[in-house]
Symmetry: C2
Subunit: 440 residues, 2 copies
Amino acid sequence: MSRPIGVAMLGCGTVGREVLRLLTDQSEELAARVGAAVRLVGVAVRRPRRHPEVPAELLTTDAAELINRDDVDVVIEVIGGIEPARPLLLAALRAGRGVVTANKALLAECGPELYAAADAAGADLYFEAAVAGAIPLLRPLRESLAGDRITRVTGIVNGTTNFILSAMDSSGAGYAETLEEASALGYAEADPTADVDGYDAASKAAILASLAFHTRVTSADVYREGIAEVSAADILAARQLGRTVKLLAICERVVDASGTESVSARVYPAMIPRSHPLATVAGAYNAVFVEADAAGALMFYGQGAGGAPTASAVLGDLVAVARNRVAGGYGPRESAHADLPIQPMGDTPTAYHVSLEVLDRPGVLAQVAQVFADHEVSIMAVRQTGRTPDHVPACGAGANLVIVTHCAPDAALRSTVDKLAGLDAVRDVVSVMRVEGEVT
Amino acid sequence: MSRPIGVAMLGCGTVGREVLRLLTDQSEELAARVGAAVRLVGVAVRRPRRHPEVPAELLTTDAAELINRDDVDVVIEVIGGIEPARPLLLAALRAGRGVVTANKALLAECGPELYAAADAAGADLYFEAAVAGAIPLLRPLRESLAGDRITRVTGIVNGTTNFILSAMDSSGAGYAETLEEASALGYAEADPTADVDGYDAASKAAILASLAFHTRVTSADVYREGIAEVSAADILAARQLGRTVKLLAICERVVDASGTESVSARVYPAMIPRSHPLATVAGAYNAVFVEADAAGALMFYGQGAGGAPTASAVLGDLVAVARNRVAGGYGPRESAHADLPIQPMGDTPTAYHVSLEVLDRPGVLAQVAQVFADHEVSIMAVRQTGRTPDHVPACGAGANLVIVTHCAPDAALRSTVDKLAGLDAVRDVVSVMRVEGEVT
């Protein structure tokens, strides 16, 4: 056995308390797996009196001092947010400490700075818990698929929005009502903005795209739409087409006609076929679907949040970092060797579902189809139905027209929809949503 | 950049050819990820003239000589089977070479010997491709969940049997007919014994149990039943209960009343609820459901076999081993520190579904229930239906009795079924199958 590995923890909230519990309960197991005792030597918190669960002699308010203590080998950060986590972790890395963090916002915004500090110091920076909680995902992406070529990562990576969309799909209720219910059940925060507007999913998309494509992608590079505009009509339209609506984080390697590669990272609600493995991921669960050249389709499923699942991922990273220190080395570095450009959303190929309330008269379909043709958007399927009882027009007969397109640049699709909305023959644009998960 | 990493490959069949292709296509990527060029220096095959795809100067028939060459750092073994893979890999490990293998039979039978040789020499032994093909599973089990406590691993790990059971479920056809169809479509081997009798799944269960519970489990320790006895009646009975039949590899940490832990590793067809994440895994796909104390439920899904998916896993391991050599170290060792005893199948708690054709007269249910009580087996649910048109008895009226039990020692359940079969009131035991995937 080597000398003990000293661990400092910054923060002690829901995840921190579970880390504490596992460090205690699993101490023998951890020692056996690491090849050395793993010893918690300090916990930095703002208000020590609020932490009776931590032995008093371990508590400190001075995180910067704790990091620099000689007996600290690894720093676990579970504070969250950008400040003061950022300067603390930079200091820890510069001091040669191994770092384990669950901080997705920090990694998505300041990842390149942190990776560079870790590289310069030869220190480990592990963050499995930052994406999809307990699901072992980053390690497989970065290590198991290291000899393969990942082409696409499609994830349900936010539990709150998945809970809301699953509930809307089951009940047929609208967004506002379902959000209220989710809040009451504790599935949505008092301020749900980060979740429902897609910021949380965009952070995770940035991290996933960086790892999958060896390119520095930050949250600012990720195109983002939330679920606040998803209506009961959208959910119903999806159902009628054998699809369901999910908030997806999509990271894609895009190759243009000239063979130039770029990376598309985007978050938006989309219709996916009910037969797709992601369609059955319900409630607050997360899942990530990965496509690679040789491996084919893979899916990783599990709990994306919660104290215990996140702590499990933190401990897995702690074991890896501690093992590396016992061996006197460090793990695989983050890599940005591909350094691909980010594709603007307007250029990204997507497919749309458009449901229109139109006048029920000859020539309307031709007129609508012409708008698609003018924008060089190819139509995959059209379904036209007569009078829709729910939408009896004030004057004249109405019909419903559902169009699903082939892939086209997103900007062309958006212009098409804008143009359609202005047609006299179109009474209402009932639902517009992107379609994912099948070859178009 | 360090000096190049030299790779020797033993065997060049379906998987080997894909490894060859990836090594060539991905050479720049591999070098970037490893931090050194990865160079194939030799391929050992039995009949060099049958391998026009391999550059002639790399081919050799002398595998033992190739392994010992000075320019070989890593040995990839894709021969399969026990001999001559076993002595070759032992020689490679003893010579300090890193070893990457896809050989599940060898690992399941001779794992302890190989792990010990790797330990003694300080050499890497990686085998992600041996279980569930391309699905990154072993690395997450061994590394990501290293700080958690795995309680159960339930896998669909054999594509042939899953294809057959999925087809029987869709078509209602019998086993023999469906096996024939699977053979015709190339989903079953000419001699399907290893698959349909559960030997292949048992090998994988041994490897999974070893990793999950830090205990040496070999294929001889795994209880095994195949799918040859699964009838159309079993599939129908499952369907009527909202269940489906899957061949499961189950590895479980069992704690008895006195708190003593042991490991149960077993393979058999079982009914699982259609709502279980494993139920939707259809055709030749594989999936493994993992339960851990802190992480909760996780599932890993993907292609379990095939040249390209398996090669993807081999390459991921190759990158890890090559990186370790560039860093001058080696990866986490196999660990048997828990060294738990193996629980005999008779003592293992399981639950049964039993469907009986009984005489339709008063008192039969009481008589049947008494048999369960005599064996201390608790009944969870009973469903009794009147005359079943498909089974009109030759004389007297018949009824169908379906019983699902709570968990009880498997031996008690088997004795119960034997006793039931001998009752005068029981005309026929229509279906007996274990039930998994729910709390009983």
